[in-house]
């Protein structure tokens, strides 16, 4: 069963000659949360002597396997269930990460591995040698699945359909193996026949065309027959069953939308826009939507907001909204557009291997970006690109880099391209979720860089070519070898680019795809009046982690008095200084209008500028054609000109950010002008609000006039006759709506000389709340009211405490009393008239936590804990959990930490479990270099257990646990653990004694990594040798490791340590374990002992070589 031979080897031969994988789920029990079914797959052997078939399967109970109607023996071995088996005191993360990566490798379908190993009955060996078809039939069941398939069963009266009970498939990357045995790879394509028998009141939505729906004989159930004739990977198969309401899209009858009962009006409104997205993609790709139908399903307790599968997408029900909701509308539309982009690239076109993932994510993200540009305009698009760029830059600088196209040479540790990370990037399942999010972000940014290089026209041609090749291939029903055209690989993609455009983009790929890191520029300039030359100095930092050296062209735009001029500088190894000749002499005739980049000519007040210099402002890399961070120095007036007159929103945002450092009246004026300018992009104006608040605070002693923004707000939103009363709400103009929401929040950040929020501002906000009147408004004001509460929270400053007295009602500050009054009323009103997505409750909870933290209200997690319980709306739960996490950190509460960790293990909603770990990682109760009473051996054991075995049902959750462990304890052995018994380890191979690697202190361990996170920029040549002993030992392990058992076995052989359990015990444990997996009545089962198994692996490996 050789990897290379497997390509397209799996086909299904049914009566009429159609091919496919067949799944049949006969019974779904919502009460017991169980599923019973069978799968049938046919294998076309491409090599002789195929005597074992490996499939992926997790948590399924397999009853019976038959190959060509003969009972077949099988073994189920899932090394990822428990990553490190032995009871040793190994607690360092390096060790775990290696073992985990090895375990995932051991079942990696792309390498021909799997958890389920079926032995082909010996009667069929001859049959196989003749390369004849094998038909494998597997009966399985799933009982209370913890991952992969999620049941939502509300606890109330009535039938399951009345309760709105539903079930859907979910998971991160290839997770299909959690709900049926398959080859869970994106590169194994086959056609599908799917059958689901469900309650008559339910609907089963799955991939492909619904061929027919048939009642069962008792008429109480229906069977949904689906057929997917387009070859599809198992990982793109999905399922959703529930009492869904059905809406056929009025514009496209082949598109069907599904939602939970009672939500149909919302579904109608939410999906009314989808056809435009369809039209857009089909037009730019000049290609029809590849599947014959499309289904959207909106479900509760979603794993992710958007999940795309072949011809269907599963969305969170919380994306649904009515016509009254402003803020959610663009967000939901973005989700719909994202899901649809992934239908083309990700579902229809799949990937060859994990290292080609970036192409799919890149293309789908890129065309989604084009949709954004068309729908929301160039300003929004550029703002988004800037935002994404800032995010990826910040992440790479923090963690040391994101690698899009990792190449693994032999799996040796020193070749590991991501050794700066605490996890392996060899498999999607070992990736930190945050890393994966950033990976996707970088992928689409790099696609944009390619577009910059080869033009959008060629780019779209390349996509069209990929799609048309794939759709030709998909219609080739009997030539499965053609199907590889439906898989995209990095090399194929690059070849396509070079064929279409004739351009060589190899340097670009090398810089951004084959290598991690971003560029960090520092720029400054001087104007040489005599030569009329701008002397620009651009330095780079390429030694810090996450950075790389950039060599190549760099665009610089200089706005002079006579116009705007682009210059392309060549960034080379040693040249830092660049002379740029200026076009205009310093100011001569004052009255002339100044031409801008876009051809517009404007009058400017030039009095602020330097009389000797014709330079208005300078921008480095204005088109964001390098993944970079630029720190550029120019004088305050230049930033002010840039803010006022540069038409690019990114430039305006950069200017606003820079102006924070220049708290002057001129900055104030520039910002207020921008705020008032209605032509200006609303996000820039919103940003200007916060900058203005910061400047006002820095200028507090010289500030004149009313508090910043107050008169502006009054002018824009209050009644002409009575300026203290806000107009009744009218949100028809979205720009002013967003500004109206933001201004009070920013104003509340103002502080007076005593560092308190000015009374005037607080009263102003309270009045806004008091006079808020939404009766005549077409839109809901829930987000606005929520932000007013946020504003109240922002106005809170630390309580003046008289020697740690207990917080009681009596010594409550009168201002805080007013705030608390509002919060109480809002929070109580939410119980009677709840707002959309309970935005107000969320803001109230946040505000209460702020009051607690500032010492106005006694710090107490009880309230938050009650809101965090299962049964509250997810946004509310997350806000409450965030407060508990914060409490845990501030009050160092062991009890709350335990409460959170229990929830991580037991909460019914996978997203909550993930989010708690995420929040704990972002706001940790302590970090690795910190002394904390919480840091103890029990916690280490608990977390270790959590990531070792407690989270095996959810890849994302396990990686989240690893992230938390890393944040709390670092890579090496946690400092709170006692030293292991043996400090020295005998290395038998080299006949040397070395320091036990588990107790090497952090700083030393750090040095072993090629890229260091704290010190050592230039990768010093020496240290690799210095510590080579321990390093070598690791390498030997990695070389031979195939799964964790073998890995452990190997270790046991290498290190005869008295503290580790003996071999015999270990084998015994293995056998018991296998017994537990397989119930009686399975037929005939082969058992291997661990040694046997190890040899089996070894022999297979030798055979491969």
């Amino acid at each position: 069963f050789h990897p290379s031979g497997k390509q397209g080897s799996k086909t299904m031969n049914r009566k009429k000659g159609d091919k496919g994988f067949e799944i049949c789920i006969n019974n779904i029990n919502f009460q017991r949360k169980s599923v019973v079914g069978y799968v049938e797959l046919t294998i076309f052997p491409t090599v002789a002597n195929l005597n074992r078939i490996k499939l992926n399967s997790k948590q399924c109970r397999i009853y019976r396997v038959r190959v060509n109607d003969l009972e077949a023996a099988f073994i189920y071995n899932d090394p990822t269930l428990e990553v490190c088996h032995h009871e040793s005191k190994q607690r360092n993360l390096n060790y775990f990460s290696n073992a985990y990566a090895a375990a995932v490798s051991a079942v990696d379908p792309d390498a021909g591995n799997g958890e389920l190993c079926i032995k082909v009955p010996s009667e069929l060996w001859k049959h196989v040698d003749e390369l004849k078809v094998l038909k494998v039939h597997i009966n399985f069941s799933l009982d209370q699945p913890k991952g992969g398939l999620h049941f939502v069963v509300p606890n109330m009266e009535g039938s399951m359909a009345e309760r709105g009970a539903h079930v859907f498939s979910c998971g991160y990357q290839n997770s299909t193996r959690f709900w049926f045995p398959c080859v869970d790879s994106y590169s194994e394509l086959c056609t599908w026949k799917l059958e689901y028998t469900v309650d008559a009141a339910m609907v089963a939505v799955s991939n492909g065309d619904l061929v027919e729906t048939v009642y069962t004989h008792d008429m109480r159930k229906k069977t949904f027959h689906y057929m997917l004739t387009i070859p599809t990977a198992a990982s793109n198969i999905s399922l959703a069953i529930g009492p869904f309401e059905i809406l056929v899209d009025p514009y496209m009858h082949e598109v069907t939308h599904f939602c939970l009962p009672q939500l149909l009006p919302l579904l109608k409104h939410t999906t009314s826009y989808l056809h435009e997205v369809f039209e857009f993609y089909e037009e730019i790709l000049t290609c029809r939507y590849p599947y014959s139908c499309f289904k959207t399903v909106f479900i509760d307790e979603a794993y992710v907001e958007v999940a795309a599968y072949a011809s269907m997408s599963i969305f969170s029900t919380n994306l649904l909204h009515s016509a009254m909701i402003i803020d959610e509308t663009p967000l939901t539309r973005r989700c719909l557009a994202q899901a649809l982009a992934q239908q083309f690239f990700g579902c229809f076109i799949s990937r060859m291997s994990w290292s080609d993932e970036w192409v799919l994510k890149g293309i789908s993200g890129y065309i989604y970006g084009l949709w954004m540009k068309k729908t929301f305009g160039v300003n929004e698009y550029r703002h988004w690109i800037k935002q994404e760029l800032d995010q990826i830059v910040a992440y790479e600088l923090k963690t040391g880099g994101v690698l899009l196209h990792p190449i693994f040479g032999g799996g040796k540790e020193k070749d590991n391209p991501a050794s700066h990370l605490h996890f392996s990037i060899k498999h999607p399942h070992t990736l930190s979720w945050e890393y994966y999010t950033m990976f996707q972000c970088k992928a689409h940014l790099v696609m944009r860089l390619i577009e910059n290089r080869i033009s959008m026209e060629f780019m779209l041609q390349v996509f069209n070519k990929l799609l048309s090749l794939a759709s030709t291939a998909s219609s080739q029903k009997f030539q499965s070898h053609m199907w590889s055209q439906m898989l995209v690989s990095t090399s194929g993609f690059l070849k396509s680019i070079s064929n279409v455009s004739g351009k060589d983009i190899q340097p670009l790929i090398k810089q951004w795809v084959d290598q991690s890191g971003v560029v960090k520029f520092y720029g400054s300039f001087a104007f040489n009046r005599k030569r009329n030359v701008l002397e620009l100095e651009i330095k780079q930092d390429y030694t810090s982690p996450g950075t790389q050296k950039y060599v190549g062209p760099l665009k610089v735009t200089v706005q002079e008095l006579d116009g705007s001029f682009n210059h392309t500088l060549q960034i080379e190894e040693n040249s830092l200084k660049h002379d740029i000749p200026c076009h205009s002499k310093s100011r001569r005739n004052k009255k002339k209008k100044i031409p801008l980049m876009n051809g517009e000519e404007v009058d400017m007040d030039l009095s602020a500028m330097d009389a000797d210099s014709p330079l208005l402002w300078i921008r480095i890399d204005p088109d964001m054609s390098v993944l970079r961070k630029v720190e550029f120095e120019q004088s305050d007036f230049m930033w002010q000109y840039q803010l006022r007159y540069e038409r690019d929103v990114v430039a305006q945002e950069e200017a606003i950010l820079a102006l924070e450092k220049f708290p002057t009246p001129a900055s104030r004026l520039a910002l207020t002008d921008i705020l008032e300018q209605e032509q200006c992009f609303y996000r820039v104006r919103m940003m200007a609000c916060f900058c203005l608040a910061k400047i006002a605070n820095s200028m507090v002693s010289t500030w004149t006039g009313p508090p910043a923004m107050k008169s502006l707000f009054t002018r824009m939103f209050c009644c002409k006759t009575c300026p203290n009363i806000v107009k009744t709400n009218n949100f028809m103009n979205f720009q002013s709506y967003f500004l109206q929401k933001t201004m009070p929040v920013a104003m509340a950040l103002l502080r007076d000389v005593h560092n308190l929020c000015p009374k005037e501002v607080l009263m102003f906000i309270l009045d806004l709340i008091k006079y808020n009147d939404n009766r005549k408004n077409k839109f809901s004001d829930n987000y606005y009211r929520a932000e007013l509460i946020d504003a109240l929270a922002n106005s809170v400053t630390p309580a003046v405490s008289v020697n740690n007295e207990v917080r009681t009602l009596d010594n409550l500050n009168p201002d805080v009393r007013l705030i608390l009054e509002e919060i109480t009323r809002f929070l109580n009103m939410e119980k009677l008239l709840p707002s959309y997505r309970h935005t107000i409750t969320v803001s109230c909870l946040k505000a209460i936590r702020v009051l607690q933290k500032n010492g106005h209200v006694p710090s107490d997690p009880a309230l938050f804990k009650s809101y965090a319980e299962y049964g509250h709306f997810i946004d509310v739960r997350i806000a409450a959990l965030d407060a508990v996490v914060d409490y845990t950190k501030v009050d160092r509460s062991y009890e709350e930490l335990q409460w959170l960790l229990t929830m991580v293990q037991n909460d019914p909603v996978p997203y909550i479990r993930h989010k708690i770990l995420d929040m704990l990682t972002k706001n940790p109760p302590f970090t690795k270099n910190m002394e904390s009473p919480l840091c103890n051996e029990a916690l280490v054991d608990q977390l270790w257990k959590l990531m070792n075995s407690g989270t095996s049902h959810d890849w994302r959750l396990r990686c989240g646990a690893v992230d938390l462990y890393f944040t709390l304890f670092g890579l090496s052995r946690p400092s709170c653990l006692p030293l292991p018994e043996l400090g020295l380890v005998l290395n038998l191979k080299e006949k040397k004694a070395v320091l036990n690697p588990t107790i090497i202190p952090e700083s030393v361990v750090n040095n072993q990594e090629p890229v260091n996170s704290t010190n050592n920029h230039g990768q010093s040549v020496g240290f690799q040798n210095t510590f080579s002993n321990s390093q070598e030992e690791e390498e030997i392990d990695m070389d031979t490791v195939h799964d964790s058992q073998a890995f452990i076995y190997h270790h046991l052989n290498m290190l005869e340590r008295p503290s580790t359990p003996g071999m015999s015990k270990f084998i015994g444990k293995m056998i018991v374990w296998i017994f537990q997996r397989f119930q009686l009545g399975v037929g005939f089962v082969f058992f291997f002992t661990t040694t046997g198994m190890y040899h089996a692996y070894k022999s297979e490996k030798l055979r491969k070589k």
Partner: protein, 312 residues
Amino acid sequence: MRTALYGSKMADTATGGSGTRPGGKQASTPADNYYLARRRTLQVVVSSLLTEAGFESAEKAAVETLTEMLQSYISEMGRSAKSYCEHTARTQPTLSDIVVTLVEMGFNVETLPAYAKRSQRMVITAPPVTNQPVTPKALTAGQNKPHPSHIPSHFPEFPDPHTYIKTPTYREPVSDYQVLREKAASQRRDVERALTRFMAKTGETQSLFKDDVSTFPLIAARPFTVPYLTALLPSELEMQQMEETDSSEQDDQTDTENLPLHMSTDDSGPEKENASVLQQNTSLSGSRNGEENMIDNPYLRPVKKPKIRRKK
């Protein structure tokens, strides 16, 4: 319906009353005297109305029946007017109570003035009054208004003019924007606070301060069985608001949404009904009555009956 019921009930008691009383021969109490006097007057009224209508003679039984009917009618009017006046928290019926009563009894009030002023009407002489109650002479102010021609002179005089003459006065209505907004805001706030306090008092609460549970009472957080419904669906209040504020756009939308449905409704009557049901709930009717829909979508097709069991 209500009047008919009341009317019949009233008539029952009236006839019951008249059935027992005249049967007793020794009737001589003052109450009985009043009763007989009223009865006599009514008989006179009936007779004069009959005369007016052109009858020359009538059987006693017929007059008795008509008298009985008239009495019932008047009694019901009185009873009903009393109810209306009590309903508005008054003890004395006013003109409007009578009007409402008449309307309720199916009488066209507008015809009354013309009827009262009809030329051929007969005026009944005043009933003999034995002892005129002495009305204390109060301060008189101004000239009492004389009776108009259609009112018999033995009816009571008009009261003093000051009791009914009105001089309209104008109080400036509160139209100041600021005051209105202020009022609306504080009213809403008071209602909200009162309501939430009431809810907090009557239910479970949480508190931010351990030492004080009453100053800032928070209604306890209660988990929902289906949390997304309350979070996503607009409240009835908002729905109402939405209907009020945007009608034009909403219409546009429904028009386009119904487009395929219009196509399907050009058949017979019952199917039209189905189509409107479909509009209400596409899911249920859509999946079952798929044939009626022109849209060919597999989810709208009917569910097939099972075939004969195939061999596995």
